[in-house]
Symmetry: C2
Subunit: 424 residues, 2 copies
């Protein structure tokens, strides 16, 4: 029996480890590099420190590790049956975050964000959510740390996919369909387009507006920003150690899905650390939906994180702040931009992008479910599809790691649609 | 760091360890003790051997352990936050089976049943399911071992709770609403009651009828029988070892929900082994719904497992083969009888029953979700409610173990109904 792998004691901040410093975020008004003071109305102090930090290793506070202990370390599964079905010589390992209480990796950052807000005395948090993975993770975290949560959920999801809304409410959070009558941004959109299905960009603007107007409230974001990426590195830190414990020296290729980028970056950055320190030559593939291809088809430039331009300007791969992707089932990947830190590592050549059509993603996910038992979240299905295609093309053994960011049990109607030939 | 706990190498068969042998099953026609030959048209040979075995330790075949490795050992979680919320001096440990690929403990037996059928060359299995936990677990297991599966699902669930039906289909199984036009039993019911919502008893009769008529097919059951209980003992075997690894000598009380009984027995029998061998004085509480109280209100006598009387006669606590429980959300607990082995341990004084109303179960489950993050299956919620009530009454520390048989993410509409004050 191999040595057990422990829960990490520190997050890994790649910003302190790269040969070229990442471009700073800019103030949306002055266009100057953003300061901690600029961010103070929006985020908890501890999170702002992390956003701007160049420390390579940042200690995980004990109250956060205490929650992590309830579900971490998450399994690294050798997918023997999936390999056999693919007929590949690859050894495929799947890092599975779906065992978290809420069912996805989002909990890793939600717990940290709620904690740092709680030590600032914050009693009210706002956020947006699409399909609801982030909203439900944060609702759980807020329940843990005694904070009231209001979530603006994209109206189309609010109405058509009620399960995650019920999950947010079960943890005690309040959900508003976005656009709502509760904000200037929402009222404006409703006046112009009463029947709009909403979008993440609108929901961000609503949640930010409410937080900024209430000095006792703060805003939280479930991906994109440096501190969110930082928290997610527990995934990759464990995976690197678990792979070694399983007898593998290194990964040859790492596949993860990328929407805002925190899942892929969280998994991949600890593998890239091995590359940076010349201990490995691992390739990293960020898999995005063909319907929202920010890395493979977007521009690398400064852009806003929301439609109303309330967020800082972020240097990232972007399809434009007003880009509205098709309504694919992988709601967590429907974002116009990509985490600046991840975009930067793409530019430096440590990460490559790959776009996958939705039907290919579901085909691979069904094959994975029938061999390994786990029904992947539609987001994760994109990574599985890209990895499967790669593995099938191999003639020599390689070590392939797939990030499985969450389970898809609340997305079963999408599987039903795929199996019935009715996928949009 | 404590010693890691390994996946068990053997299941524990309490039938070989009890001071009084359990009463045999009887042939429904002759009323004589049932033989292996009698059972041959219904079940795989390996399962029949286990059903009749008095060996105490039965080796788990490697192909089954291989699937177990993908999700076992399952976590034993110290529920610090829940303890604090209850204000109890108890140390509460939760054995959590919801991390299995399908989301509940049912996989433990499904994999074993599919495996033993596969080595008999069986190509077609039939079964029934209520809410769909068992059907989805078996569908996954059949995909693993290359067997076609047909599931008769109680019509009310088939129509109103489609997610688990989609899950069965995602794994490749076929689902029929029961009663169906495909069987004599189904056609009979439909002729008499065209609008019937169906029942588990009817669905069992349909699945048995189809299996018996096709020499190449076999039937499977997700609870009640000795071999199913046997497979589930991996839960308790791990929990006993994990509790010791956590520094506890023994459990004082073990709570688990009991419908057909395999979850509770699987968790509790390894703890009762400690009692039988005078290494512990653990109490075991089988928690059942007030709407279907077979242990606390039923009779202990021979009865059939299905409405049509096709199954063997089982000596068990029963509300009668034609008892139709109220449509509570804990569909997995809506069964008129109780596993004969579990009923026998109740009679011998090793297990006591406790009935819990549905609203109490949801109240405790919401408190648990808000403190520990896991949304319990409505079935498991009954165990949590009984344990919480017990723990709140303690003035001295005790070690309390709760079996959390599955997550409730596919039961969120029931939580929504509870939180809205609209629970049936």
């Amino acid at each position: 029996m191999s040595e057990p792998v422990n829960i990490p004691t520190h997050w890994y901040n790649i910003a302190g480890d790269l040969p070229v410093a990442p471009p700073p975020h800019l103030h949306p008004g002055t266009k100057e590099p953003i300061t901690a003071d600029d961010l103070a109305p929006l985020f908890a102090k501890g999170l702002i420190e992390q956003e701007l930090s160049t420390e390579t290793n940042i200690e995980i506070p004990e109250p956060i590790r205490d929650v992590y202990r309830n579900y971490r370390t998450t399994p690294l599964i050798r997918a023997h049956a999936f390999e056999k079905a693919l007929g590949t010589p690859a050894r495929i390992y799947v890092k599975y975050e779906g065992v978290s209480p809420v069912g996805s990796h989002k909990v890793n950052s939600a717990v940290a964000q709620a904690y740092y807000n709680s030590i600032d005395g914050v009693k009210r948090l706002t956020t947006e959510t699409g399909a609801g993975q982030w909203g439900s993770a944060l609702s759980f975290a807020c329940a843990k740390f005694g904070i009231d949560l209001e979530v603006w959920q994209v109206r189309a999801s609010y109405e058509s996919k009620p399960y995650r809304r019920f999950l947010i409410e079960t943890y005690g959070g309040t959900v508003h369909a976005s656009p709502s009558e509760l904000t200037d941004a929402g009222r404006q959109v409703l006046a112009d387009y009463p029947d709009t299905p909403g979008s993440l960009g609108i929901a961000v603007s609503e949640a930010v507006e409410v937080a900024v107007k209430d000095p006792a409230a703060r805003y939280t974001l479930g991906s994109v920003l440096n501190h969110v990426v930082l928290h997610q590195t527990v995934i990759g830190l464990e995976a690197v150690a678990q792979l070694r414990a399983a007898g593998e020296e290194n990964a040859d290729v790492v596949f993860g899905c990328a929407g805002g980028g925190s899942n892929l970056a969280g998994l991949a950055f600890p593998f890239i650390r091995e590359v940076l320190h010349e201990r490995a030559a691992t390739r990293v593939v960020a898999v995005e939906p063909a319907a929202c291809p920010s890395i493979t088809r977007g521009e690398y430039r400064y852009d806003h994180g929301d439609i109303a331009g309330l967020t800082p300007l972020l240097k990232m791969h972007t399809l434009g702040q007003d880009f509205i992707p098709d309504p694919i089932h992988a709601g967590g990947l429907r974002y116009h931009g990509m985490a600046p830190l991840l975009s930067h590592t793409v530019e430096l050549g440590y990460v490559e992008g790959k776009a996958v059509p939705q039907t290919d993603a579901f085909a691979a996910a069904v094959q994975f479910a029938r061999t390994e038992g786990i029904v992947p979240a539609p987001e994760s299905a994109h990574a599985i599809a890209a990895a499967a295609e790669y593995a099938k093309g191999l003639t020599e053994p390689e070590v392939v790691v797939i990030g499985l960011s969450g389970h898809g049990q609340l997305d079963l109607p999408a599987y039903h649609a795929y199996l019935s030939g009715n996928l949009d």
